[in-house]
């Protein structure tokens, strides 16, 4: 595979920021109550991550090491404010449901993590692809969890009825617990388990060892 293409594809599964590095969990739990909020959040993060990576990479040679973090955060925060303003203007209802979580993209470890670990050391194009890839890696997990939660809690996807609810004369009894934050934890845990079972190399080394029994 070409190097640049690998930069894009690798973070989607192999070095996925959520399942491998377990970053960005806070927002992944908060905005996945429905597919629509997960979708808007995913697009916002992809936008911020790609642009912040590109901008930081363009000026990386002129960022003094002593003030590099504050420069990175300033750029990221400005992009986040722009996204927040655009959402408030064009997707007013959704922006209210997302409440603080768009603003909290600033403190999403994935964004600053990629700026520091990748964009500061690589040229703009690979940095853009890296941002895009990591954003997509975050997005598919959000979308999957959002879809499962909305489907099981409301019987809908993006507001369209998929499973007819008992209260409307259908057969599906919704799982109320899926609307609550802990369910996102369980789903994410199951997902990480599944991914790591298929991709054994992602398993972490055990932090404890079996005691050696001397006979």
């Amino acid at each position: 595979m070409k190097l640049s293409k690998r930069k894009l594809v690798q973070p989607i599964v192999t070095t996925n920021p959520v399942t491998v590095h377990v970053l960005g969990i806070c927002s992944a739990l908060a905005v996945t109550t429905s597919l629509a909020t997960a979708l808007v959040m995913s697009i916002s993060v992809i936008f911020v991550l790609s642009l912040s990576n590109t901008i930081i990479s363009v000026i990386r040679r002129h960022i003094p090491a002593s003030i590099r973090l504050i420069i990175q955060i300033t750029i990221i925060a400005s992009l986040v404010i722009v996204v927040d303003l655009v959402l408030q203007a064009y997707l007013f209802e959704l922006s209210k449901r997302l409440s603080v979580f768009v603003g909290l993209i600033v403190s999403n470890c994935i964004v600053l993590g990629r700026a520091e670990a990748f964009a500061m050391k690589n040229p703009p194009l690979p940095s853009l692809l890296d941002g895009l890839g990591n954003g997509l890696g975050y997005a598919w997990i959000l979308l999957l969890i959002g879809a499962v939660r909305e489907l099981l809690a409301e019987g809908t996807l993006l507001g369209y009825e998929i499973l007819p609810l008992v209260e409307d004369g259908g057969w599906f009894t919704p799982l109320e617990s899926m609307a609550l934050p802990p369910s996102a934890f369980f789903l994410l845990g199951l997902l990480i388990w599944a991914v790591r079972s298929l991709r054994v190399e992602q398993r972490e080394a055990p932090t404890t060892r079996k005691p050696e029994v001397s006979s």
């Binding site: 000026i59 002129h62 960022i63 003094p64 090491a65 002593s66 003030i67 504050i70 420069i71 300033t74 750029i75 925060a77 400005s78 404010i81 722009v82 303003l85 655009v86 408030q88 203007a89 064009y90 007013f92 409440s99 603080v100």
Partner: protein, 246 residues
């Protein structure tokens, strides 16, 4: 002339080693300038759309409030706050409030406000008063609806607030707002007594507070004191009461 060529200065600046404080200060200034310009231009360009959204939400909130009470849409009237008389035109003027009177933290208040009145043959049935004030970390805007006795609260709703989610933001919770319904505004002596208290509210004037949101709730108490008082709708309500009495 080479020494005054801006392009040359730029190259010299970029050529400075990153360790030099001048470079660090220069880069910090440039990044700050570019970022603030981007944010300011975006905000300016999107302001008309955001304002329109807010107006639509405000109108929808009034419609929802009236629908929940099951009454007809009240009629909008312009009222001079100082004497409570109807006026035909809004002069768009404001009045400064000095510290002691500025309970809602507004700084200045308009001299003419728009209120909504529902009358039938028996007189005033419902008035809906727009109220606003400084919250803990955002501006709170809402509607206070009073029944025909001008003392019983029919509804209190906030359609705009940006308080801490899960804490102050609970003021937007319909269940909490419903606690205000049926409470009485004034005590026997005519002072404004309705308020949310810490813990459980008792009697005709008290509403349960929200734990973890004491400051936000206190600001609501203050803004109600202001808007029902002499610098708010006090004179207007007094005039309606006098009208009903005669």
């Amino acid at each position: 002339m080479d020494s005054v060529n801006p392009l040359r200065w730029w190259q010299v600046f970029l050529g400075l080693p990153n360790r030099r404080p001048a470079k660090a200060i220069g880069i910090a200034l440039l990044v700050a300038l570019a970022c603030s310009l981007t944010v300011a231009l975006t905000a300016l360009n999107l302001k008309p759309i955001a304002d329109a959204n807010r107006l639509r939400e405000r109108a929808a909130s009034l419609v929802a409030l009236v629908a929940a009470l099951g009454v007809d849409m009240p009629r909008a009237r312009l009222v001079e706050l100082a004497d409570g008389e109807y006026v035909a035109r809004d002069p768009q003027s404001t009045m400064m409030l000095d510290g002691g009177r500025d309970l809602a933290g507004l700084g200045a208040v308009e001299t003419v406000a728009e209120v909504y009145e529902l009358r039938d043959s028996a007189g005033v049935q419902l008035v809906v008063l727009p109220v606003r004030g400084a919250g803990y970390q955002s501006v709170l805007k809402g509607y206070l609806a009073l029944r025909g006795d001008l003392d019983t609260i029919a509804a209190l709703r906030f359609h705009e607030q940006n308080e801490t989610p899960g804490m102050g933001a609970k003021i937007a919770d319909p269940a909490w707002q419903a606690l205000w319904t049926g409470k009485r505004v004034a005590g026997d002596d005519g002072t404004i007594r309705v308020r949310a208290v810490r813990g459980d509210g008792e009697g005709l004037h008290e509403v349960d507070g929200i734990s973890g949101a004491t400051r936000t709730v206190n600001r609501i108490n203050n803004l109600l004191q202001f808007w029902l008082g002499p610098d708010g709708y006090g004179p207007y309500l007094a005039r309606l009461k006098a009208e009903a009495g005669t």
